[in-house]
């Protein structure tokens, strides 16, 4: 009889139940989309932010010390400490290797123009093919690290031996245009370069000129050496543990150390890079790393707020619809009470009707939400969102809470309903 009554009530109120299912579906779809995006967004937003540059700087130990004590920047020619180019591939062998998106080495080269004025010249990888010790291969370098640069002309390739890329400020100071030639003296030898590209980075780098790393090593006589490496890594926002670890990893307990080491904190990745690079010191570029963490947290907070608001909206919608339904059926509910039904019987009857309707709406909303998540993924991150099965019980729980919350006014109404008032009038 119970299910016969539930079925009868559902079929008799098709339009109202369809509206309830639609409301639940809307809430569930937004919750599904937002939670899936939220769970996947950390990685997606991180990757997106990585297109705006490096967040770790690797320098030789000595250079680091000079920098820390005297504030002398690495590559200024003061330090004679260098990193080994042959070890760069090791960066992709650390525990968080998959989180290393790109890296580019730099060799600052002492150079001047014919008129004797010193210039900032550095060698780097532009798009360097690397065979890793693990047997994998990788193409990395400045082209993928500096995607936001506005380049006139062309990027250099690593095989260009007599061409350079000049920053806009460097080009303006030396009155250079694409295709012009410039003579540069390094270690008493003159080299002639053609300007292949002029870049605008919007930073101090515009005062520089870049040549391929091999050429810079040849000019400075520092074959196989680099003065620093910029690394772009996907990281987890810092917390208290990572901040403590960044100050001194040895201060952590074994369990804390394992947690820290096995989490993609920027400090953990720095630590792991130092493990594979001889005499290196890796330092997070704090401003970038912290901004990334802040943006990620704010993005997640925004999605959480959208989820909460959509579910609250759904609860309000359900509340109105269920209350209207119960009010319409007040004489039926009064009759059931007159026949001896307790409040719990009638509450269960109404809740079962809403739960069945809600389940249908939630199922439809879940699949719609997967679609929304993919639309968000494609339009915002240009890639698919990984659908997490763990979202199903979470959405089911949220829909349950929303249905219960939305049904409270209706249940209160039916509990207060007196059969005498609806069956006879008072």
């Amino acid at each position: 009889m119970f299910f016969r009554m539930v079925k009868g009530a559902l079929l008799r109120q098709k339009a109202k139940m369809a509206m309830i299912a639609f409301t639940v579906a809307l809430g569930a779809s937004l919750a599904t989309a937002m939670i899936n995006v939220m769970l996947d967004a950390g990685d997606k937003v991180n990757r997106e932010l990585k297109t705006y540059g490096a967040n770790i700087n690797v320098i030789p130990k000595g250079a680091s010390l000079l920098n820390d004590i005297y504030g002398v920047g690495e590559g200024s020619g003061v330090s004679d400490k260098y990193l080994k180019e042959s070890e760069l591939g090791n960066i992709k062998t650390i525990f968080w290797a998959f989180n290393i998106v790109d890296f580019a080495p730099y060799l600052e080269t002492p150079a001047k123009l014919k008129n004797g004025s010193a210039i900032n010249l550095a060698g780097t990888w532009f798009s360097h093919h690397l065979e890793l010790p693990t047997g994998e291969s990788l193409d990395t370098g400045m082209i993928s690290m500096k995607k936001w640069w506005d380049v006139q002309g062309q990027w250099l390739s690593d095989g260009d031996t007599d061409e350079l890329m000049a920053g806009t400020a460097f080009a303006r100071q030396n009155n250079l245009k694409i295709g012009d030639r410039i003579d540069i003296i390094s270690v008493n030898k003159t080299y002639s370069f053609k300007v292949k590209g002029i870049f605008n980075s919007g930073s101090q780098e515009d005062l520089r000129a870049y040549v391929p790393l091999a050429k810079a090593q040849e000019m400075s006589g520092r074959n196989g050496l680099v003065s620093r490496v910029e690394v772009s890594a996907l990281t987890t926002p810092d917390n208290e543990l990572s901040r403590r670890a960044a100050q001194n990893p040895n201060s952590l307990s074994i369990k804390e150390w394992e947690t820290w080491y096995c989490t993609a904190y920027v400090s953990a990745i720095c630590y792991q890079i130092d493990e594979v690079m001889t005499d290196s010191v890796s330092k997070p570029i704090r401003q970038v790393a912290q901004s990334e963490g802040a943006i990620l947290e704010k993005t997640e907070l925004l999605m959480l707020l959208i989820t909460i608001l959509s579910l609250a909206g759904a609860a309000l919608g359900i509340s109105n619809l269920v209350t209207a339904s119960v009010m319409e059926r007040s004489s039926e509910i009064g009759l059931l009470k007159a026949m001896g039904a307790y409040d719990i019987h009638i509450s269960l009857l109404v809740l079962t009707e809403i739960a069945i309707t809600g389940m249908i709406g939630a199922a439809a909303g879940y699949f719609a939400g997967i679609g929304f998540a993919q639309i968000i993924g494609r339009s915002v991150f240009d890639s698919a969102i990984n659908i997490k099965p763990a979202v199903i019980p979470l959405v089911a729980f949220l829909v349950f809470v929303v249905i219960i919350a939305g049904s409270i006014p209706a249940i209160r109404f039916l509990l207060a309903l007196k059969p005498a008032e609806v069956l006879h009038g008072r």
Partner: protein
């Protein structure tokens, strides 16, 4: 022992005294009618007797239990176990068949028994309409389903609110015949009615005016008792 006793009951809504100092008893198997003009307190009295309301003052003893002191939950149980309700508007659940409407009363009382529900419908002459929805039944047939539903749990007291109010003469006669039959079998019946012919079928007629009993008429002797 009387089945029902109303002792000095009054029902007050704000400034309105719907019932004032009512004293009435209904014996086992007795059939009484309550009459009176609109606003005389008939419905209020019916709600109190039917355990759907409580008096503001006084006590109501139903089968030895003072219902004026019971909780809402206990009143629900008393209503379910001891009273069969018949309404002027029938109040059938419109998505259940006639048979299912009768069985709904069984469901909340004890266990459902389709055979017994069919017998109740047979008793009111509706066995062949058991699978029909209320919308497929005439007013008289709907009222008979309502009576079958009231009878299904063998109540001590049948409480009928204008049971023939919405019926034509033919159906009124059928319903009255059913009541006579129930009375003969020993059921106590309280009927609220405007219709003197219906009231005439009862043993006593209680006349209410302005919330007070103005007259109690013994229909067998055709004379007023008070």
């Amino acid at each position: 022992m009387n089945l029902l006793e109303l002792k000095n009951i009054s029902k007050i809504y704000g400034d309105v005294k719907a019932l004032q100092n009512i004293n009435l008893s209904v014996g086992q198997g007795e059939w009484i009618a309550i009459m009176g003009p609109s606003g005389s307190g008939k419905t209020t009295m019916m709600n109190i007797i039917g355990c759907m309301d409580k008096p503001s003052i006084g006590s109501v003893i139903l089968d030895g239990t003072d219902i004026s002191k019971e909780s809402s939950k206990k009143l629900t149980a008393l209503r379910r176990d001891k009273i069969g309700l018949i309404f002027q508007q029938f109040h059938l659940i419109n998505y259940l068949t006639a048979l299912e409407n009768v069985m709904a009363a069984q469901y909340y009382h004890s266990i459902q028994d389709e055979k017994e529900a069919l017998e109740a419908l047979s008793r009111v002459g509706l066995a062949d309409r058991a699978k029909h929805l209320p919308s497929q039944l005439s007013g008289g047939e709907q009222q008979r389903v309502c009576i079958a539903r009231a009878l299904i749990n063998y109540p001590m007291l049948i409480l009928a609110d204008e049971p023939t109010g919405n019926l034509d003469e033919a159906n009124e006669a059928i319903v009255l015949d059913i009541f006579k039959s129930l009375h003969k079998e020993g059921s106590a019946i309280v009927v609220v009615t405007h219709d003197p012919e219906v009231a005439q079928e009862s043993e006593r007629t209680v006349i209410l005016e302005h919330g007070k009993i103005s007259k109690i008429k013994d229909n067998n002797k055709s004379e007023a008792l008070c």
